[in-house]
Amino acid sequence: MIRVFFAEWRKLRRPTLFLGTMGAVAGVTALVTSLLFLLIDSERGNAREGQMISRQTLELPQGLSIGFSSAAGLLGLVALCVFASQTAQEYTHGTLRNLLVRQPKRLTLLLGKFISMCSFALATVIVSAVVSIALAFALSGKAKVSTTAWTTADARTALFHTFINVFLSVLASGTIGMILGLVFRAPIPAISLGVAWLLILENIIAATVKHSATWMPGQLITTISSGGDFNASYMHAMWVVSAYLALGVLVVSVLFRRRDVSN
C-alpha cells in the first residue's frame, strides 16, 4: 500500500500538475475571499448567488473561515477533475497494465491511489485555508472589519471545524471523480459528466423540484462544507452522501477487481 502511495505521488508532484493545481486553488480562493471583503458594501452581494455577508457577520469568530468555506465548491471541482483524470488516464495511456504487473492486488492498488489523491486534496485545502486567512487579515482593514474575535479560541475552533468540513466535502467530490473515472475509463467523459451534473443539472433540478436539494449529492456536499444549511442538516447530508459514495465505491471496486484489462 505504501509503495502505491509513493508511486502515485511521483505522478502527482510533477510541476505542471502540482504547481498548476495549487496555483489555481490559491487564485480561486484569493478571488472568493477578496470579493467577500471588497464588495462588503455592495448591494449586489459579496458571496455566492448574490448573498450578502455583513460586516457584523465577518467580525464574529466564525468570520475568519467564511472566505475559506466559500471556496469549498470550487475546491471540490478541482478534486473531482484531479481524481477523475488521475484514475482514467491509466486506461487511456495504457499504463494500468504496467501498474497491475507491478502490483497485482487490484484493490490495494486502488486504495493506494485513492489515499495518495486524498493527500493531494488535503494539500489543496491547506493552501486554500492559508491563502484565505492571510487575505482576510490583509483586507480586513480596508473593509473596516474588526479582527478582534479572529484571534480567540472560538475562532480557532470554528476554523478547525470549517477545515474538516471543507476537507470532507472535497474528498466527497474527489471520490465522485474517481468513481466516474473508473466507470468511463477516459478522463474527458468522466470530468464532463461530473462537472455538468454538479454545476448545471443539480442547480436546475434544485431550482425546479421542491426539496430536491435534500437528496442530490452535489447540494449535500455543499451542505457538508458549510456545516449544515437551509437545505439540510449536517448529519443528514453526511449520511446521504456517505451512502451514495459507499454504493459507488462498492460498484467500481467490484468492476475494477473483475474487469479484464485489455487496453
Binding site: 508511486a7 505522478k11 510533477r14
Partner: protein
C-alpha cells in the same frame, strides 16, 4: 482442472481458453517453456498471442484452462509477478514524465531500488535521454524504455510482446544481443515478434498460434526439420529446367520454376541422385543446392489458410 507446478518450467499452460462473446481468442492452448531458454511466440495478427500473454500476467481471466508461471498458478499472479518483467502490446508510459521518472514510478510501485534506473537506461541505449519527457521520445526510444521497465525486477522470466517494433536494424540487433545475454544469465525470455528471422536467430523453442490454437510448441529446429527441404537447381539453358522438373516428377518429387531456378521438393540426400539423373539426361547444372525452409516459409505454410 489443475496444472502441476514444475520447477523446470518457466511457463506451463493447459487447455488455456479465452472466449469473447461467441469468438474464441485463445482456444485450448497447451505449451511449456523451459527455464533459461528463449522461446519465440509467433502467429498472425489476431491469433491470440497478446491475449495469451495477458492471461499469463493476470490482466485478463481465462474462460477455461489453467497454467503456471515459475511454478505458481496463474490465478495468483501476486505470487510470481515480482519475478516477472513484461512489456505487452507496446510501451505505455506517462507522457508528461521523463523516461527515468516513469521507471522510478514502476520501481517505487514494485519495491525495487531506484539506483538501478540509470543503469537500465544505459543498458537499453537511453543513458543520455533519461531526463527527457517520454512524449518527446521516438517510437524506437519508447520501445527501449518499455524493455528497461520490464528489466526492473531483474526478472527470472521476461515476457516481451513485439519488442523490436519501431527499432532500426542496429537497434534490432542490440535487442537480439540483449535477449541472448539475458538468456545466458539464466533469464527465461518469452518473446513475440513478427520479425520471424529474428525469432529464428534467437529462439531455442517456439510456440506457434493460429486462430487462437497452438499449432506447434517445441524446439525451433524440430519445427524446421519437419518441413520438406527444397533443392534449388540452376542451368544456363531454361529449357533444361523444364526437363529437370519432368525428371524429378518421374522420380516422385514435385517442383516448379521460380526466378530462373528449379525448386524441387526433396530431402538433402536426394540432391546427388538428382545431379546424376540430370547428367544422364545431358543437362549440365550450374548450381545445385539443398535448402532448409526458413522459419518464415514454415510459418506461412503452417498458418496460411488452407481451407
Amino acid at each position: 482442472m489443475s496444472t502441476h507446478a514444475s520447477p523446470e518450467l518457466a511457463i506451463a499452460v493447459k487447455d488455456l481458453t479465452k472466449i469473447y462473446g461467441d469468438r474464441a481468442a485463445v482456444s485450448g492452448a497447451n505449451f511449456e517453456v523451459p527455464l533459461g531458454t528463449v522461446c519465440g511466440f509467433v502467429g498472425p495478427n489476431g491469433s491470440g498471442k497478446t491475449t495469451t500473454m495477458r492471461m499469463l500476467l493476470g490482466l485478463i481471466s481465462p474462460t477455461a484452462g489453467s497454467g503456471t508461471i515459475l511454478g505458481e498458478p496463474i490465478n495468483h499472479p501476486e505470487r510470481y509477478l515480482a519475478r516477472v518483467g513484461a512489456m505487452i502490446e507496446g510501451p505505455a508510459f506517462y507522457p508528461a514524465l521523463s523516461g527515468a521518472e516513469n521507471l522510478r514510478v514502476l520501481a517505487t510501485l514494485g519495491g525495487y531500488s531506484l539506483d538501478q534506473v540509470q543503469g537500465l537506461l544505459e543498458r537499453v541505449g537511453l543513458g543520455d535521454r533519461g531526463d527527457s519527457k517520454y512524449k518527446t521520445y521516438s517510437l524506437g526510444m519508447k520501445q527501449r524504455l518499455g524493455i528497461a521497465a520490464a528489466l526492473l525486477p531483474n526478472p527470472q522470466l521476461l515476457m516481451l510482446d513485439e519488442p523490436t517494433n519501431g527499432l532500426d536494424p542496429a537497434g534490432i540487433q542490440e535487442i537480439r544481443e540483449l535477449l541472448r545475454d539475458l538468456a545466458n544469465e539464466g533469464t527465461t525470455v518469452f518473446v513475440s515478434s513478427h520479425l520471424l528471422s529474428e525469432i529464428e536467430m534467437i529462439s531455442d523453442s517456439l510456440v506457434m498460434l493460429r486462430k487462437g490454437e497452438v499449432i506447434f510448441a517445441g524446439k525451433t529446429q524440430d519445427l524446421l526439420l519437419r518441413q520438406q527441404p527444397t533443392i534449388i537447381a540452376k542451368s544456363s539453358d531454361p529449357q533444361d529446367l523444364v526437363k529437370l522438373l519432368a525428371i524429378a516428377h518421374d522420380a516422385g518429387h514435385e517442383g516448379t520454376v521460380i526466378d530462373g531456378a528449379a525448386h524441387i521438393l526433396g530431402p538433402t540426400e536426394w540432391a546427388p541422385i538428382l545431379n546424376k539423373m540430370a547428367f544422364d539426361a545431358g543437362i549440365t547444372l550450374a548450381q545445385l543446392a539443398p535448402v532448409l525452409p526458413s522459419l518464415e516459409e514454415t510459418f506461412f505454410e503452417m498458418t496460411g489458410d488452407s481451407e
